[in-house]
Amino acid sequence: MIEIKSLSKSFGKKVVLEDVNLCFEYGKITGLYGDSGCGKSTLAKILCGIEKLGKGEIYADGELVCSDKVKYKRKVGKRIQTVYQQPYAALDPVQRIGASLYEIVSYNKLAKSRAEQKAVVENIAVEMNLAKETLGSFPSAISGGEAQRVAIAKCLLLSPKLLILDEATSMLDVSTQANVLARIKELVIKRNMGVLLISHDKELVENFCDSVYTYENCNFVLKNTKGETDDEAL
């Protein structure tokens, strides 16, 4: 499980997050809901080491990822991967989709031989419902839904234990969104990983997630868990 303990973050004098304690269990989908600009994405950035935390600690399976005193440990932090809002921004416009996947496999030494690399890339493409032709295409030739599935595939290559979807479906139309999220739901069970869905779409978060947290006074408060109504949670 991924744990956040007493996390605080400020930008200058503006306090964005204060004493945040969250726990992301494997096999569960957690939702974070709040207005745009409130600090949801800041939390995602801290979790994957893009932003430094002010105070607090982050643990992955009991192992320290980072704290206010310890620098972000990249090797441990690999267990946390993020998919961002704009799928095309995650893809190099002059690099074919297959090549961008190969790059991750070879940089992280995920396979020993060329044949093994090919198998890893082909398997992840099958897992994310990507056609063979997609691997040979440039990002400009694929749809938004496909681009987002490629972005997820790139994260999944590193076998994350927590996949953060930071507004990852807000640029997609409703039917593409439904397809992508159905795939995510399958992966949560198959890979036993946790998913953190960050969104400002209240209906989506409440319908898709096992537990929902809302942003209140620089912190995330548990609103409800699946099967519970708002009144019961209160």
Binding site: G34, D35, S36, G37, S41, Q85, Q86, A141, S143, G144, G145, E167, S170, M171, L172, D173, V174, S175, T176, Q177, A178, N179, L181, A182, H200, D201, K202, E203, L204, E206, N207, F208
Partner: protein, 299 residues
């Protein structure tokens, strides 16, 4: 009438040939009216917006069709250049991408307002005013920020403030609510309506919430207009199977998927994924009009 649009055929040159991306999409927008064009990614919504402004990509051609804006034929490029940004305002899909990252917010607004003839204190006051109208509480502080210091939603609101710098008779909002939160989406439609009461508004969106807040909805499927009518009817009781599938894919309706069931045959763009398709759907699809509501469906 503010805009009378007939798409004709919009074709894109792609590797190994060309593909028709929009065909026979016709609509009119009256003064003060809000029309929403909805559909999946790749349905041709943005191409329609770009064709109105004559800003289609290099590999895309429009043949046939006509666009008349307040009695002016938009086929003349020189005329379109004079009108764009003054009488036709465009609010783009990704706010952050259309702002220059090396320039503060205030300079973006100054550029647009200077085009409208404002100077000195009036210019600065108009900047603040537009940002407040776009939904910023602390507008003065926003002026001195760079685009990369704004969140997605804040950047989107800056582009709305930029659109407010014009005296627009037609406002095209191309997925402009993408970065905004749940409440702000309907507030956005309402705000645009209040700020530009007499302007025609074209909302290009895949968000049913935004579309539902408009007066009329046109539904696009693979570049064809398959259904159009009053927003209240199309967003709650649609008659075309494609619109029904879009509604059932909403989170509140259980996010039902529409898988590909069969190979495409005939004229209907939704035929491969339609659960109720039959033999009649393989032929030419009729256009059925009933009291202001139109659908293209054989069933």
């Amino acid at each position: 009438m503010v805009l009378s649009y007939k798409s004709g055929e919009i074709t894109a040159k792609i590797k190994g040939g060309s593909r028709v991306i929009v065909r026979d999409v016709d609509f009119d927008i009256e003064e003060g009216e809000r029309l929403a064009l909805i559909g999946e990614t790749g349905a041709g919504k943005t191409m329609i917006a770009q064709s109105i402004m004559r800003l289609l990509p290099e590999n895309v051609r429009q043949t046939g069709g006509s666009m008349v804006f307040c009695g002016v034929d938009l086929s003349d490029l020189k005329t379109v250049r004079k009108i764009l940004g003054k009488e036709i305002a465009y609010i783009p899909q990704s706010g952050a991408d259309c702002l220059n990252p090396t320039r503060k917010v205030k300079y973006h607004l100054y550029d647009s307002l200077k085009r409208m003839g404002l100077k000195g204190d009036a210019l600065k006051a108009a900047c603040i005013d537009n940002l407040v109208k776009a939904g910023f509480e602390d507008a003065a502080a926003i002026l001195n920020l760079y685009p990369f210091q704004l969140s997605g939603g804040m950047a989107q609101r800056v582009t709305i403030a930029l659109a407010l710098c014009s005296h627009a008779k037609l406002i095209i909002c191309d997925e402009a609510t993408n970065g905004l939160n749940y409440v702000d989406k309907t507030v956005f439609v309402k705000r645009i309506s209040e700020l530009f009461p007499s302007a025609a508004k074209l909302f290009i969106t895949h968000d049913m919430q935004v579309a539902g807040a408009c007066d009329r909805i046109g539904v696009l499927c693979s570049g064809r207009l398959v259904e159009s009518g009053e927003a209240a009817i199309v967003s709650t009781a649609p008659k075309h199977p494609y619109t029904q599938s879009l509604l059932s894919a909403l989170a509140k309706n259980g996010m039902k998927q529409t898988p590909v069931l069969r190979k495409n045959e005939g004229d209907c763009p939704f035929y491969p994924r339609c659960e109720i398709a039959c033999e009649e759907c393989k032929g030419e699809i009729p256009r059925i009009e009933e009291g202001g509501h139109m659908r293209r469906c054989a069933l």
